[in-house]
Symmetry: C2
Subunit: 487 residues, 2 copies
């Protein structure tokens, strides 16, 4: 056996046993040559051979990744070993593994990394929808203006030009949020985490949506806070009566809600409900962390005002970012912090110091000269048309009694199957067919919504998506609630 | 009185009462016109007048800041008010206020923001020492290569090109740290915080240096962990015998040390002590968070290997960044995480997702084509010559028995005055003269080192620094331990 063939055998064995799981990157050529004392050309030859076999797939500028189907291809010898192991551990056989929520979230995110997986379970929109070239121009232009003193002077709250541009966008929406008060952050995720740390302590009870954004659940888990889940209706959002009741019975320290185009349902609170929410919390002096990252992705003639617009007591921390609308990867978000500005600013100084300056300056330049509103109109149009395609595919391929949310913006729909349906099993089966879906339980601390999935329509529709939906429909009908349903 | 004069009076009153403290930025022209119903030209006229009076100072691209001397200029009417208030509150008169450590840290950082303050207390080097123009060129070049898929593909551990370049720098030092294992972070501060969260829980005991970097103390405070302070000798660093003794008596969960050019002392552990440190911790399986941000700023022929070089068990997390050596404000750091890679990667996904892509690509381009080593040689030479100037000024202006550390790299010296000296009082007095110093107690959870200060030599020496050192010398001699000392 030649040396490259030995390496092929070795790596195939690692794939078979799951040591190199689907979506994992193979070691770099530099590492593998060093580890095995091989020449680079031998290593490349082995990688090409694995690619020919369909076990790995090259990704430009990144490396080789194990394909979703690799394990199946090599499955025969593996099964015995896995069964044997399960038997030894004395566990009853289970069709699908049952990872905990965090593990499941990482598996879902991991699948989104693999370009071979159809990204219906992804949390991102297609990168091609963003004006990356025009942004590059802004980056190049603004790089000439990075002056020495800026690097320190923009420390506390972020670049002043950028904060001015964000304040102008608030003004255009009909809200005055002074540029001086805004704090630019490393994406909305940092803003949300800082807000939470500013207003709640370990052991505190925090109200979140159910189903809700998994990052809020992970943040509470990480910070040893307790989640109080408030139901969300897939159309008009948070159940305010349930919240009012919960506030009366529990010492809720803070709320973390998405009031428009909620992740995962796509639901939006009508204006009157937002007003009522602010009043309800103001009566008890409870801070609201408002996650509004999809605000600009509305489909109607104009966007929805956030709850922040009705905040008179400075209790609402309004968090958003450019990651969903303009510049994924730049990691530029912000918070309009209400009365919590100083705490948030200080927490940030202690944890990440400041947002990255080049990205801030590029976005400030783009907002001023790049045609953001024109880009947004185009993006909204694309998303709305992709939503239509997805809804049509659901109608064509899924059982008739499946319930689907009708979002007025964002890029997620929420699909409810019959009771007894197992979305985790669907997630596993879909992955084996190279298709990602986000199963309901990742959106609940109590792992509810076992019969639901979130689907992403943030990618241009194509035959690939149509075929994936057809396969999903077939997999759905294999489950017992639909086994006898007419096709 | 004209309208602009009314505004001048109003703002002067706010400065007098401390509402607008030295270093604070005045409201922007947009805000002030909206608040007072004035025209922009009236507001500008008022700000120009305040500038003429020396009460504020314009800072390009940023705004108007209250000067350090403004309060003194307006002091006469204020003193009565302040005294009266103190009297009412029934507190004994104290020359200097006694803020807690965090407040003091923020005051020290705040003073560093104000360009009117001589930055001897700063944590930063002069921005002019960095190749910002050449970096701008790398930013412009690399912006053309930001491809859609990158924005998602580089998520988990950072841009692969950058990780490759960092791995090459490790190799040049004689250490193999595979690019695959490195995790690019939002500055070293994020890396350090992630490492700490990965290996310790609230309530756990963490060994830190004393004196030590205040960010480590703040992180422990924020995460409700307990600090065990291990003494540091200003020349050869950490007291290993004290550490060994502490490990025997206390359940230490992790250590957070700077092993080369330590902040604040400038001390470095000799190679043998680093080896012994790693062995000591390995025997007990205790993780070491190694903060090595000044590693490249050595003055001799070559740098010092970090403790990580002797790590065989994957217990050392080696953290560094480009903020001190190349690109302040870009916020790009990294960690070589040893066995804790997966935990750190996941914690990052949950808190800030990823580092900013434009900054990563620009630095990767610069490392490959920009002449980093040439820049570093120049920077080291500048810092070493600035150190000589500072030491000479100390010899000229400070009492003869003052003890001063002799760092072999970095940009801090540690000055020990006689017992009974009050560095907090010096800090206050110096600030009133427009000079910043970093008082000893900010570097200790127990507020020790009351008789010490850290001085920064990261700025080109000039008459301004010479005059500031002369003033400091005068202020030092006003304190009781030196009151009768010969000049």
């Amino acid at each position: 056996m030649k040396r490259y063939e030995q390496l092929v055998e070795l790596l195939a064995a690692d794939i078979r046993t799951g040591l190199l799981a689907p979506g994992t990157r193979l070691p770099s050529i530099r590492t593998i040559t060093a580890q095995h004392g091989l020449s680079a050309s031998t290593a490349f030859k082995a990688y090409y051979r694995l690619e020919e076999k369909g076990l790995v797939r090259a990704q430009p500028r990144s490396g080789y990744y194990v394909t979703a189907s690799a394990m199946q291809q090599l499955a025969a010898p593996a099964r015995g070993a896995v069964d044997g192991k399960a038997g030894k551990m004395g566990k009853a056989a289970r069709v699908a593994p049952r990872p905990d929520v965090s593990e499941l979230v990482f598996a879902v995110l991991g699948a989104a990394q693999d370009p071979a997986i159809v990204p219906l379970g992804s949390a991102f929109a297609a990168p091609g929808l963003f004006p990356l070239q025009r942004l590059g121009k802004s980056l190049a232009r603004s790089s000439r203006f990075i002056q020495g003193p800026d690097t320190v002077a923009s420390l506390p709250r972020g670049d002043e030009g950028l904060r001015g541009q964000i304040a102008l966008r608030y003004l255009a929406m009909g809200m005055a949020q002074p540029a001086e008060e805004l704090i630019v952050t490393h994406g909305a995720l940092e803003a949300l985490n800082l807000c939470l740390t500013a207003v709640a302590q370990p052991g505190d009870l925090v109200a979140v949506e159910s189903p809700g954004f998994y990052a809020s659940l992970q943040a509470l888990e990480r910070l040893k806070m307790k989640a109080l889940e408030i139901p969300v209706h897939p159309q008009d959002g948070l159940d305010l009566a349930a919240l009012a009741d919960a506030l009366q019975r529990h010492p809720v320290k803070a709320c973390w809600f998405m009031t428009s185009f909620q992740n995962p349902t796509g639901a939006s609170l009508p204006l009157e409900k937002k007003k009522a929410l602010v009043a309800l919390l103001a009566a008890r002096d409870i801070p609201l962390i408002e996650d509004d990252v999809y605000a600009e992705l509305y489909f109607g003639h104009r966007g929805f005002l956030p709850a922040k617009a009705f905040d008179r007591k400075g209790l609402v921390m309004h968090c958003s970012s450019f990651s969903k609308t303009l510049a994924p990867g730049y990691r530029v978000g912000w918070v309009s912090p209400g009365r919590f500005g100083q705490q948030i600013e200080r927490l940030r100084l202690m944890t990440t110091l400041s947002a990255s300056l080049p990205a801030q300056l590029a976005i400030a330049d783009y907002l001023q000269y790049g045609g953001y509103d024109k880009h947004l109109r185009k993006l909204r149009h694309s998303l709305e048309s992709q939503l239509s395609s997805l809804l049509a595919a659901i109608a064509r391929h899924f059982p008739a009694d499946v319930r689907v949310s009708r979002p007025a913006g964002g890029y997620f729909v929420w699909v409810e199957f019959a009771e007894g349906f197992d979305a985790l099993a669907l997630h596993q089966a879909a992955l084996e067919h190279g298709i990602g879906v986000a199963p309901g339980p990742v959106f609940s601390a109590r792992r509810n919504f076992r019969h639901c999935v979130r689907l992403n329509y943030g990618h241009p529709w194509s035959d690939r998506f149509e075929a994936a939906m057809q396969t999903l429909g077939m997999l759905v009908r294999q489950q017992s609630p639909y086994a006898d349903a007419p096709r």
